[in-house]
């Protein structure tokens, strides 16, 4: 008896190959200008280096790029923008010691000494995990788990019920659902950019959205705030549990 090649496994292998090859990051064209900008920075030509870094930023984002832009701004005495870029670098690479150190140094240049809210244990653990496992890895694992689940289901249909197959389907279903949940959490977090830095001088935090509301606090550029709510072009922000209020959207820049 001649055996036919099963169609579905062939399709699965095809899809895995196509997917993996398509989602692999191709080396981008900005490596060369990045090296060039680094060279200029080392020569002390911060403005020129910054100009190239900012051009690269239009094409893509990497924590090293943001970090170097922050350094350029710092050297050019633009501490607010330096902090913005250090925080952007921190978003892509949490717990990186160099970023932490530079944020600490640049913070000393600002008048507002409002201690940021400390993360609780679980949030720190979640952030640690995020720093080790990138969203792309989570996406890839999710895709692979979906494929494995499909293979098990296919085998179940083709060969009928057996203990191994049933365990396989159940286990891969649970794993797929868990990874799916985590993937949703990570993508949701990715899309929610609720951290910002005050960029305008003499920004007022008011009791409500609108110029007519009472001024609660005056804050200075460089203060990191968390965006809580939005009403037209007014944002409700909090810098700590004690300092919160409404401010105009153009007074801050999102990280």
């Amino acid at each position: 008896m001649r055996k036919r090649l099963p169609l579905l496994p062939v399709l699965l292998v095809f899809f895995i190959t196509v997917t993996v090859s398509s989602i692999q990051l191709s080396p981008d064209s900005f490596q060369e200008p990045f090296n060039q900008a680094n060279q200029l920075y080392e020569e002390g030509k911060y403005s020129e280096a910054l100009s190239i870094y900012l051009d690269i930023e239009k094409k893509g984002a990497h924590w090293k790029l943001f970090y170097n832009i922050g350094n350029c701004y710092y050297k050019l005495n633009n501490f607010v923008r330096a902090k913005i870029y250090y925080l952007r670098a921190e978003r892509l690479k949490p717990f990186e010691p160099s970023i932490q150190k530079n944020i600490e140094i640049v913070n000393k240049r600002f008048n507002d000494k409002i201690p940021g809210e400390k993360l609780d244990f679980l949030s720190r653990v979640a952030l640690r995990i995020e720093s080790f496992i990138s969203l792309n890895i989570v996406s890839a694992v999710f895709l692979v788990s979906v494929i494995i689940l499909n293979v098990f289901i296919f085998v179940l249909l083709k060969r009928g019920k057996s203990r191994f197959i049933l365990y396989g389907v159940s286990f891969s279903l649970v794993i797929t659902l868990l990874i799916f949940g985590y993937h949703m959490y990570r993508t949701g977090k990715q899309n929610l950019r609720n951290t910002a830095v005050i960029v305008k001088e003499d920004t007022n935090l008011r009791s409500g959205p609108g110029e007519n509301n009472t001024i609660l606090f005056k804050v200075n550029p460089g203060l990191k705030v968390k965006i809580i709510d939005q009403s037209r072009n007014w944002l409700q922000v909090s810098a700590s549990s004690q300092v919160a209020g409404w401010m105009e959207q153009d007074s801050l820049e999102r990280i």
């Binding site: 899809f15 196509v18 080396p27 893509g60 969203l135 996406s139 007519n212 009472t214």
Partner: protein
């Protein structure tokens, strides 16, 4: 039957006669009564005029009634049988609303009937402020009615049962005072007066008042209302919003108009109640805000208490002591309150406090508490004294500056200092250490970290494909396998296809016969022992299968059976192989024709 009819007619006749006789003997009476001789201005008096022995009386005029307003009238008739004599009564019930307080008079009602003049007695009613109606489970206070309410009690009095045809909904804004000091609390209430049933109320304005610090009371899930008499009309009144306002500037400060959108239940009694939206706005209110006296400028305004406590009496020099400072506001704005501070000395160091501010919304006021936890570290051992702290505020009711002082206290500090204090706050000039610089730039490979797989179309397509595959699996298991494959048509087709497929795979004559037998067994329900040439012929003839097809079918089956018992005769040699293929081809065609005939 005839007898029954006669009895019925007789009884009816006797009944009518009895009624007629009863009327004939009736005396005419005209009386008045009231349900109470003392009521509140918010209550309703029920005034009843009763006619006895008057057939279909016209409604008496109450034109002399000056101190009351008639809000509703109803009429009823009744027959009473007393000792076999019937009496016909007609009642006119008036619901009267007092227009003022004091002793009011209801003048006699006059009625003329058949030339006779009838007059009722006058009544004196004492009217007091408010309501004297017994509050049986608070009959005047009602939850905000909803379209879904099945609350008959809500319509207990007849004037409420009939909603006005026109929309009668008003908004009022009330303030506790029109003249206030800067920072003095003012209670602001928005009242909804309605004679219609209201389903929902939503504020559509921005509740932001320039010139005021506002503390809005939380909106409760259900709002209690009460009945109020306004110009002779009864309204249900609901407090829909409440805030405490603290003026932050002096002069004439205006509380702007606030717009509300309401949904009315237009026809509350219809099975399909209709809802209608209306918009109402509160009037503007201007408050004259004056500045505090010169000596009280900058002080908090209200009524406060103040205390400072230490969590320990004795402490190790290496430990941190926490001082707890509480300012409780019976009245006043705790959000803008500045707490008095201890000053670092040579004996102890004061750290920035942790401050919490909790507001309490009471029935008619706003209170709150500011709590500060002040960490203190010690520099020296011994009995260390903390001075009394002072908290000053301006009391607007008494127009005085009140100074509150905490009690001075001492802490016994013992032990040996392990290390020198490290400063938590550093002067700006000392912040950047000499030589301290940012870390150097980062080199190496970079790529776009924000290019996410999940955003690529390939990722989405692959997910969709697998989702569809899953869907197909499910369809196969739950729809196709369960329903479609079980259908007669598909079974029949499947059977034929199976047979034909098996025939196509035949390599020897001997394999044909079992396939055909199985086909006949499944198709015609014949048992194996029943399958012979005669029964096959009989079966196919019954379904008018072509004779030549029957003959070939039987011939090939017979040859196959024969070859089973003498395999050398058939299936050997090239010529035999060709013959077998031709025969199978012919058999397949015949089988298709037979299958379409045989049911």
């Amino acid at each position: 039957m005839m007898r029954m009819n006669r009895i019925f007619v007789l009884i009816s006749f006797l009944f009518l006669l009895m009624v007629f006789v009863g009327f004939a003997d009736e005396k005419v009476e005209f009386k008045a009564s009231i349900n109470a001789d003392k009521i509140g201005i918010d209550d309703v008096l029920i005034y009843t005029l009763t006619f006895k022995g008057v057939e279909n009386p016209s409604e008496p005029s109450l034109s002399d009634l000056e101190e009351f307003k008639v809000v509703q009238t109803s009429r009823s008739t009744e027959f009473r049988f007393v000792n076999g004599v019937s009496s016909h009564y007609t009642n006119f019930v008036y619901y009267l609303m007092p227009l003022k307080t004091g002793t009011l008079t209801i003048p006699p009602a006059i009625y003329k009937y058949k030339g006779e003049h009838y007059e009722t007695e006058p009544f004196k009613v004492e009217v007091v402020k408010g309501s004297v109606a017994p509050r049986r489970a608070q009959p005047h206070r009602r939850r905000f009615p909803s379209i879904f309410d099945d609350d008959d009690d809500f319509f207990r009095s007849p004037f409420r049962r009939t909603q006005p045809r026109e929309i009668d909904v008003k908004l009022k804004a009330e303030v506790s005072k029109r003249k206030a000091l800067k920072g003095e609390p003012i209670t602001y209430r928005i009242l909804l007066f309605t004679r219609n049933r209201i389903q929902s109320v939503n504020m559509v304005s921005n509740q932001s008042f320039p010139g005021f610090w506002q503390e809005w009371f939380p909106i409760s899930r259900s709002i209690d209302g009460e009945d109020r008499n306004v110009d002779g009309k009864i309204y249900q009144v609901f407090e829909i919003r409440k805030a405490v306002l603290f003026p932050t500037q002096t002069g004439s400060v205006t509380i702007p108009s606030l717009k509300f959108e309401m949904t009315l239940v237009v026809d509350a009694f219809s099975l399909f109640s209709d809802a209608r939206r209306i918009v109402r706005a509160t009037p503007e209110i201007t408050i004259a805000v004056s500045d505090l006296p010169q000596e009280a400028l900058g002080l908090p305004v209200g009524d406060f208490t103040f205390s400072v406590k230490a969590d320990k009496k004795e402490v190790d020099i290496n430990d941190i002591l926490t001082l707890r400072l509480n300012i409780r506001a019976r009245k006043g704005n705790i959000k803008t309150l500045e707490i008095p501070e201890f000053v670092t000395t040579d004996y102890y160091k004061i750290y920035p406090p942790k401050i919490s501010r909790d507001t309490n919304f009471n029935q008619n006021s706003l209170s709150g508490v500011v709590k500060a936890e002040i960490p203190v570290s010690f520099k020296k051992v011994g009995l260390i004294s903390f001075p009394a702290l002072e908290f000053k505020y301006f009391n607007p009711d008494a127009s005085i500056i009140v100074t509150l002082k905490s009690s001075p206290f001492s802490i016994h500090v013992k032990g040996v200092k392990e290390k020198q204090e490290t400063a938590l706050t550093i002067p700006q000039t000392e912040i950047i250490k000499k030589g301290e610089d940012i870390d150097f730039i980062k080199k190496g490979n970079i790529y776009d970290q924000e290019q996410y797989y999940y955003q690529t179309s390939t990722f989405k397509i692959v997910l969709v494909v697998f989702f569809l595959l899953n869907l197909l699996f499910l369809l196969k298991v739950f729809v196709f396998d369960r329903f479609i494959t079980q259908s007669t048509l598909l079974k029949k087709k499947k059977r034929l296809n199976n047979t034909l497929n098996r025939l196509k795979k035949v390599r020897e004559y001997s394999e044909i016969s079992p396939i055909l037998e199985e086909y006949l067994k499944e198709k015609a329900g014949l048992g194996l022992s029943e399958i012979n040439n005669h029964s096959i012929e009989e079966l196919f003839s019954k379904y008018r299968v072509n004779d030549s097809d029957i003959k070939i079918f039987i011939k090939l089956k017979s040859e196959s059976e024969l070859s089973r018992f003498s395999p050398q005769k058939a299936g050997s040699g090239k010529g035999e192989g060709k013959k077998l293929r031709n025969d199978l081809k012919q058999l397949i065609e015949i089988l298709k024709r037979i299958d379409s005939r045989v049911k």
